[in-house]
């Protein structure tokens, strides 16, 4: 199974490393060369230097026969465009896109893009943590 991870920052690099451990053949794409260091000294997957909006970069990274594409650059709009290109131009059936803005994530989810919104997830987790606190009424310590 081949996976393409576009955007190799904190999130992308962790996904690339984990998929690699799980036996996927992974290629990471990032426009900065430093991103490669996030993958560690023993990275034996692929790495393509370039921008994910560039069709040639996507081809070089093997988008045409990738089984899964994870789009996680630091720009929501960049991710939206790359995700749609992967889905509609290269007909990839498994495209997952990270979007920080819940509103755009919802709109593009309705349009058939598989979006994941860490902001919404964080809000839920934080709310649950607050609800889980055992709040005791303030005791009258002064007495």
């Amino acid at each position: 199974m081949k996976a393409l991870v576009i955007g190799c920052g904190r999130v992308g690099s962790s996904i690339a490393l984990q998929l690699d451990r799980e036996g996927w053949e992974v290629t990471a794409v990032d426009e900065k060369e430093e991103a490669l260091t996030r993958l560690g000294d023993h990275w034996n997957g692929g790495f393509v230097l370039g921008h994910g909006m560039d069709i040639e970069v996507l081809r070089e990274a093997g988008i045409e026969d990738a089984d899964a594409v994870v789009v996680a650059t630091d720009g929501d709009n960049t991710n939206i465009v790359i995700g749609q290109v992967a889905q509609q131009r290269f007909d990839n059936q498994c495209v997952v896109v990270r979007l920080l803005d819940p509103a755009r994530a919802e709109f593009y989810r309705q349009r058939g893009l598989r979006t994941v919104c860490p902001t919404s997830v964080a809000i839920e987790v934080l709310l649950d943590s607050v609800r889980a606190c055992e709040v005791r009424p303030a005791e009258a310590t002064a007495n």
């Binding site: 909006m53 560039d54 069709i55 720009g75 929501d76 709009n77 960049t78 939206i80 465009v81 749609q84 290109v85 509609q88 131009r89 803005d101 509103a103 755009r104 709109f107 349009r111």
Partner: protein
């Protein structure tokens, strides 16, 4: 008309200025950089709004839900222009959306996602530069994407098969026509009896796929 403009750089700001000067339109310009916004606000006052035009709440504050008659996505980022166009058209039903393409290599993304019409200053400039550089045998002067037509210029040289022949005797590809001949600084409309001479600059209109055929008839044996 209500016209919403995203991006207050040179293109967006001048477009807003022209429309406001016209006096017949209601205009809102969205700019996300504070320094630019402040400068524009002094000039265009309440017609400028500070914010990221790819954020839905900013678009809504600018009245996207009315919706505007026209949205012009003119920022310096192609991905932003694409998202603004998709939101405008598909979420709010804006009847006319015009998108700027900064990098001509991104044109394919706009086409793929059905964003049309698009305008590209870079592409237009490239055509003008090619026009001045003699190395190009066929220069694209104007692309009419919606009409699926383009206007090109070719220069007839000594060895060209068309040199010395009348327009009516040329076997021009279907879907193409010669418009005019420029010779010694004078332009004339090309008619059937017009004879082509070496050195003539010929303007032609054609469907984009017919370039090679046109080249063969006019330029190469």
């Amino acid at each position: 008309m209500y016209i919403l403009i995203a991006g207050g750089g040179k293109v967006g700001a001048n477009f807003a200025r022209t429309l406001l000067h016209d006096g017949r339109h209601e205009v809102t310009l969205i700019e996300q950089r504070r320094d630019r916004y402040e400068r524009l606000e002094q000039e265009l006052e309440h017609h400028v709004l500070l914010g990221d035009a790819t954020e839905i709440h900013i678009l809504e504050r600018a009245g996207i839900a009315r919706p505007p008659d026209v949205v012009a996505a003119l920022t310096g980022d192609d991905e932003d222009n694409l998202v603004i166009s998709q939101l405008s058209r598909e979420k709010y039903g804006v009847p006319k959306v015009i998108a700027r393409v900064n990098d001509p290599r991104n044109q394919a993304h706009f086409d793929l996602l059905g964003i049309s019409p698009t305008v590209s200053a870079t592409r237009g400039l490239m055509a003008l530069i090619e026009h001045e550089v003699p190395e190009h045998d066929l220069v694209h002067l104007l692309e009419l994407r919606k009409e699926n037509l383009e206007i090109v210029e070719v220069v007839i040289d000594e060895a060209a098969p068309a040199a010395g022949r009348r327009v009516e005797s040329l076997d021009l590809p279907e879907g193409s026509r010669l418009i005019s001949i420029m010779r010694n600084g004078h332009a004339e409309i090309a008619v059937g009896a017009t004879e082509l001479h070496p050195g003539d600059q010929v303007l032609a209109i054609l469907q984009p796929g017919k370039e090679d055929e046109l080249r063969r008839v006019l330029l190469k044996a």
